[in-house]
Symmetry: C2
Subunit: 590 residues, 2 copies
Amino acid sequence: MISLKSLLPILGWAPTYSKTEAQSDLVAALIVTIMLVPQSLAYAMLAGLPPQVGLYASILPLLAYAVFGTSRALAVGPVAVVSLMTAAAVGHVAAPGSAEYLTAAITLAFLSGLVLLAMSVLRLGFMANFLSHPVISGFITASGLLIATSQVKHILGIKADGDTLPELMSGLYAGLGGINPYTLVIGILATGFLFWTRRQLKPLLLAQGLRPRVADLIGKAGPVAAIVLSILAVVGFGLADKGVRIVGDIPAGLPPFALPSFDLGLWQQLLVPAVLISLVGFVESVSIAQTLAAKRRQRIVPNQELTALGLSNVASALSGGYPVTGGFARSVVNFDAGAETPLAGAFTAAGILAATVFLTPLFRFLPQAVLAATIIVAVLSLVDLGAIKRTWAYSKPDFAAMAVTILTVLLVGVEAGITAGVSLSLMLFLWRTSRPHMAIVGQMPGTEHFRNVDRHDVITEPGILSIRVDESLYFANARALEDAIYDRIADQPLLKHVILMCPAVNAIDASALESLEAIAHRLNSAGIGFHLSEVKGPVMDALKRSDFTAHFKGQIFLSQFDAVKSLTCPPKSNATPAAAHGIAAFGPVG
Amino acid sequence: MISLKSLLPILGWAPTYSKTEAQSDLVAALIVTIMLVPQSLAYAMLAGLPPQVGLYASILPLLAYAVFGTSRALAVGPVAVVSLMTAAAVGHVAAPGSAEYLTAAITLAFLSGLVLLAMSVLRLGFMANFLSHPVISGFITASGLLIATSQVKHILGIKADGDTLPELMSGLYAGLGGINPYTLVIGILATGFLFWTRRQLKPLLLAQGLRPRVADLIGKAGPVAAIVLSILAVVGFGLADKGVRIVGDIPAGLPPFALPSFDLGLWQQLLVPAVLISLVGFVESVSIAQTLAAKRRQRIVPNQELTALGLSNVASALSGGYPVTGGFARSVVNFDAGAETPLAGAFTAAGILAATVFLTPLFRFLPQAVLAATIIVAVLSLVDLGAIKRTWAYSKPDFAAMAVTILTVLLVGVEAGITAGVSLSLMLFLWRTSRPHMAIVGQMPGTEHFRNVDRHDVITEPGILSIRVDESLYFANARALEDAIYDRIADQPLLKHVILMCPAVNAIDASALESLEAIAHRLNSAGIGFHLSEVKGPVMDALKRSDFTAHFKGQIFLSQFDAVKSLTCPPKSNATPAAAHGIAAFGPVG
C-alpha cells in the first residue's frame, strides 16, 4: 500500500527537475536567506538561547523537510510561538544561559521530533483537529502580544524578567528608571523603520514605477538595512561602551553534532511541553502548507507532514538546534519569490550555512534592540483582533473558548493557555450535545417535508405528536430525551401516537437504547404508540444487532411522511400508495 | 419561581398523611430495620470502620432524606460500592483502625455532602449524565467482584490485605496455611444459607401455601436467622477462644455529635474521591428512585435529590457516620413492603436508633465471617455478566468503555476505574463525531425523500452531487468535511452543482464555518456551484449572524427536493409550484 514515493516525496519532483525550476528556486532561496538570518538570531534570543542556535536550527531541518515534506513552498525553522513555548518549557527545568538550558532545548527538539514521528506511525494526525480555529487564533494572538511585550525591555535597554503579562508589565515599570537613551533611540528608530518598510515602502516604490518583483525584494530587505545601519552606528559612535547591549561574539563554523540528554527525569518534565509544541507546530505548519498548496492546486498529506516535521526536529536536535516548524512569513516569502520545489529550502539551508560559517563576526556589534524590533514587528502581524469580534458575533461558545485561551496565555502561560482552550472547547461541545435541541414538527403544506411548528406554518394531525430530536442519542443526553418526551406528552390526554423523527440521529449508544426502551415501555403502558421515523442506515444496522426491535411494539418508518400517513390512514383502508405522493385530494388513482 | 414545597418535598405529603399510610409505613420500616442492622455493621467493616459507624450512618441521613427527598421509597444509608470507595480514599490518608482514619471518613462524608449541595446550587446535576450506562454497569460489576473477593479472608479466617484483585488473590494465597477451620465452617454455612434464603426459600414457602407477604417477610429474615444462630454457636461452643474472629464490643448509646476535620491539606487529598463518590452515589440513587417512582407514576426531581443526598451526607458526618447514598436492595425492600411516604424512612431511623442504643451488646459474639457472608451475597447480586455480552453485541465503543472500566477497577482501583471509563467514553464519542458518516444521496422513486445511494434504489441527476453529512459540523470534523468533499468531486469532471444536505447538522461552529467558506471558494473557482439544503432553524439563525450569507454565492434550500428540482429546472421555466409535489406527471394543475 505504501509506496516509496509517498514516503519520500522528493522522488515525486526530483527526477524531472528543470533548469527553469532551479532558477526560480535559487532566487527564492536568496531572498529567504536574507530574511532568515536576522530572524533566526532574534528567535534564538526570544527562546533564551545563544544566537547561533537559531542559525543551526535553520539548516538541517530545511534539508530534512526538503526530502520528506509534501509542501513545495513550506520553509521550516525557528518560529516565534514555538520559541516562546521553548522558553517557557525549558525555563522550568534550567537557568537561562546555563549549559543545562541549552541541553534541555536540544532535548526538547529531539522529544518533539519523536512525538511527531510517533503521531505519524500511529496515524494520530487527527488529534490536531481538536484544536479549534478560535483556540488557535486566540493562542497566536495572545502569544504575539506576550512576545511583543517581552521584547520591550530590549528596546528600552533595561533588565526585566517575567513570563506572564502582569509580570512583564511590572518588570518594565520597575526598570523604567534604568532606561538607556542610546538603546531607546536605536530601538524606536529600528521599530519605526521596520514597520515603515513592511507597510509603506513597497507601495511607495511601486508608485515610483519600479517593477513589482524588485519593489518586493527591496521591501523585504528592510531588516537587512536596519541591521547594517545599526551595526555601523554602534561601531561608529562606540555605543557598546555607552550601555547599548550588543549580540557579542558568535562562534563561527559548522553546526556542531549534538546529542540530546537521555536523562529520564528530564524527559518526563519535557514530555507534556513536547506534545503541546508538536501539536501547535503541526497545526500551524499544515495550515500554512494547505493554504499555499490550494493556490497552486497541489496536495498536502497531513500524515507525511508529521513524518517530515518529526525528522526536521530530530535533525535540529542533532545539529545543536531547538524545536522548529513551518513558519508563516518565510513560507509566504518563499512562495511569493517563486519557489517551485523543496529544493529552494535546500538552497536556503546552504545560504544560512554560509552565513553561519563566514558572516557571524559581522553580527558582533548588532544591538539587541534591533533584533527585538524585528521580533516585535513580526509578531504584531500575528495579532488578529478582528477575529475576536467576528467570533463573538457568530458563536458565544467559540468566543468563550477563544477568550479563555487568550486570558490564560496572557495571565498564566502558553502551555496552560492551549490546554485550557482545548479543554473548554471540548467541554462546551459535550455540554451542547448533552442538551439536544428538540422540535415538534408538522407537515409543510403541499410538500412531504416536516419542519418545526414554531418556525413554519405547518399542518399537524390531532392525536399524533411528531418530535424531531436534533442530536445523536448517547449517554450524555439519554436522560434529557426521556424527560423532554415525558414533559411534552404530560398535557395531551387525547394523544394516540408519538413519532420520534430521527434524521439528525447519527448514532444511538447503549445508554440511549435503554432510554428508548424505557420511553416505549412507559408510553405503551399509557396506551400511546411510540414510533420512529427516518432512522438512518448505520443506526438501523446497530438497532438490528440488539434485541430492541424484538421488544419494540411501535413501527419504524422510512420517512416522517410515511409515518403520519400510515398512522392517520390505517393500511387496511382503500388508500393507494399514490396517497403518499400528495395527490390524495384527487382521490384514488391507482 | 422556587416554592417552599419544592425545597421541602415533605410539605407535599405530610399535611394529608393518613392512618392507612402510617400502618403501611410502619410495617415497611420494621422489615427494613431488620434488614439494615446487620447490613450496616457489615458495610462499616467493608469500609474499614468500627461497626457502630455503619449504624450511625443509617439514622440521621434517613431523617434528612425523609424531609428533603423527592422519592417516596428510597432508603438512604451505607451501601457496598460507596463503602469500598470510602475504604480506598481514606486508606490513602490514614492507617485503618486509627482515630485519623475515622476522622477522615467523617470528613469525606462532609465533603461529599458539600459537593452534592454545590452541584445542586450550581445546577450541575447534568454532570451525572456523563456517566454512561455501560460505564456504571461495568463499575458496579467490577466493584461487586472486588468486594466479594475482599471478604473471602473473613470466611477463611485469615489475614490478607490488598486493594486490587491481584493483590487480594495473592494475599489469600499467601494466607491459605492459616485457615481457621471453625471460621471456615461458619463462613461456608452462612454463605450457603444466605444464598438459599435469597434464591429458594420464598418459592418453597409459597409452594407450602403461605401468603406471599408472609413468605417474603420470612425470606428477608434470613440474615437475622444466620446472625442469631451464629451468635448462639459462638457462645455455646466457646468458638471465640478457638480463633473465630468476632465483632467484639460495640459501644451502645446515641450517635455522637462529630465534627469533620477542617485541615485544608486533608480536604485537598479527599476532594477528588468526594467528587467521585458524590457522582457515583447520585447516579445510583437517582436511578433507583426513578425506577421505583415510574412504577407508581410519581416524579423525581434530580436537582432536589442532590440537595437531599447532600444534606444526608452532612447529617451522616455530624453524627459520626461516613458517606451514604440511596441503596438498591433496601429501597426495593422498602417499596415492596409497602412504604407509602418518606416517613417509612423516619420510622426505620427510629428502629435503627433503638437497635444502636439497646441491641449492640447482643452483637458482641457475632462472627465476622457471617457479616462477610452477608456482604458477599449482597454484592454478587450486583454482578451483571449478561450486560457485558449485550453491550458487546450492540456497540463496540460502549463495550470498550465498559471493559476498560471493569479491568481498571479490578487491576488499579475504584477511582481510577470510574475516571478511566468516563474519559474513554467521552473520547470515543469525540472520536466518532470527528469522523462523520457521509452519504451520497438520491431521490427515492415516487417520493420527495432522499436516501443513501449505497443502501437504496434511488434516482440521481447527472451534474448534481448531493452529499448528506451525518453530524454537527465543528472543529474536530471540519477538516474531514473538506477532505471528503474534495475527494468526492475529484473524479467528476462534468459536475455542475454540489448540494450539502444538512438535516443532521445541528450546529456549525466557527471552525466549520471557515471550512464551509473554503469549500465554497474552492468549488466556485472550479466552476462548480455549492449549495446547502435542509439547514435547520437554529443553524440558519447562527449563519445569518455571520457574514457567511453575504459571501455565499450558492443557494440555501428549505428541502433537498426543492434543491434538486430548482437546479434541474431553472425557475424561469414554466414549471408550476405543483411540480414540487410529485404530480408533475399529471401536468400543471395550478
